[in-house]
């Protein structure tokens, strides 16, 4: 049987790379610098969440923030929206107060999933039914749960093999399970 060497046209799997130097990181933070003061504070908080250290760049950039003041309004709107969504939730996450009953829902909030799905549509007029979105949420939840469960399984195998038993899920566990997982979904 000849192999079907027709790869999908979707974006490829990009493993995480080290954070780029400040020269590249300066761009998004410059946009943030043009926001209102509270949004700026929230934005740097968000950058910290994502593990990208923009803080150093933000101080550099504040001098030429006037240049970036003519930023398109929808862009700043979006930024503030996301900050609003993220910053209030961040506080309870870092403190010791943990409320499991709040968190036992889907890994991806439905509004975010809807946004991501619409981002992937070629035809921007495409719509989704509410039920379809909820079902897609279940699909992605199953995907993430399965990924974690299989990673746990891989870790169990690796720990049996010897070495350190710290129980930390590693990227290599994910690398081992990814091909089969993607085939299954």
């Amino acid at each position: 049987m000849p192999p079907k060497a027709q790869p999908r046209k979707g974006p490829g799997f990009k493993p995480p790379r080290p954070v780029k130097p400040a020269a590249q990181a300066a761009r998004p933070s410059a946009k943030r610098a043009s926001d209102t003061a509270d949004a700026r504070a929230g934005a740097s908080k968000k950058a910290a969440t994502a593990g990208l250290s923009f803080q150093a760049a933000a101080t550099l950039i504040s001098s030429d923030s006037e240049l970036e003041d003519e930023e398109s309004p929808q862009n700043t709107d979006l930024d503030e929206d996301m900050v609003d969504e993220l910053s209030p939730q961040r506080a309870p996450a870092t403190t010791a107060a943990y409320h499991p009953e709040e968190q036992t829902t889907a890994p991806i909030p439905l509004p975010l999933l809807a946004r991501l799905l619409h981002e992937g549509f070629d035809d921007k007029g495409m719509k989704m039914q509410q039920g379809a979105l909820e079902l897609a949420g279940k699909y992605m939840e199953t995907f993430v749960r399965e990924a974690i469960a299989r990673a746990q399984f891989e870790r169990g195998d690796a720990d049996k093999g010897g070495a350190i038993q710290d129980g930390f899920l590693q990227v290599e566990d994910l690398e081992k399970l990814a091909p089969q997982l993607v085939l299954d979904f």
Binding site: P11, K31, N75, L116, G120, K127, G131, V144, V171, D184
Partner: protein, 124 residues
């Protein structure tokens, strides 16, 4: 050029948001199973989920277009599980739950509608 930059930064922000949500979920799962996950694991998982969502949205769009619709249905989402029976049962169960939920609210509306219609008929 500028729009390219903008698109890249929007994608970056969406990924950050996804990263945060996935991180929360992984932390919660790890607490329940007495595990730990490296930040790199969460990052890689985020990339994988992001790619999966992109592929899924292409699929859903194609399915809906094939059916001659401009709206994605639950049937299109069910088609995602066509190669995996276990997944199909999970999704079918979820679909029934969603239908039941919708049915309850829908039935209420229908009953109200029926009641008002009934009043109209008795008046006549």
């Amino acid at each position: 050029m500028a729009s390219e930059d903008e698109a890249a930064s929007i994608e970056e922000r969406l990924k950050s948001s996804l990263w945060y949500s996935i991180g929360q979920f992984v932390d919660e799962e790890c607490l329940q199973h007495n595990l730990n996950a490296t930040p790199q694991f969460i990052g890689a998982l985020t990339e994988m989920v992001y790619t999966q969502i992109s592929n899924t949205s292409r699929d859903l769009e194609t399915f809906a277009k094939h059916a001659g619709r401009k709206v994605v249905n639950t049937d299109d989402v069910m088609l995602l599980s066509r190669r995996n029976e276990g997944l199909e049962t999970v999704l079918r169960q979820a679909l029934e739950d969603i239908r039941a939920k919708e049915g309850r609210t829908g039935e209420k509306k229908r009953r109200e509608k029926f009641a008002t219609e009934g009043k109209g008929k008795t008046k006549r």
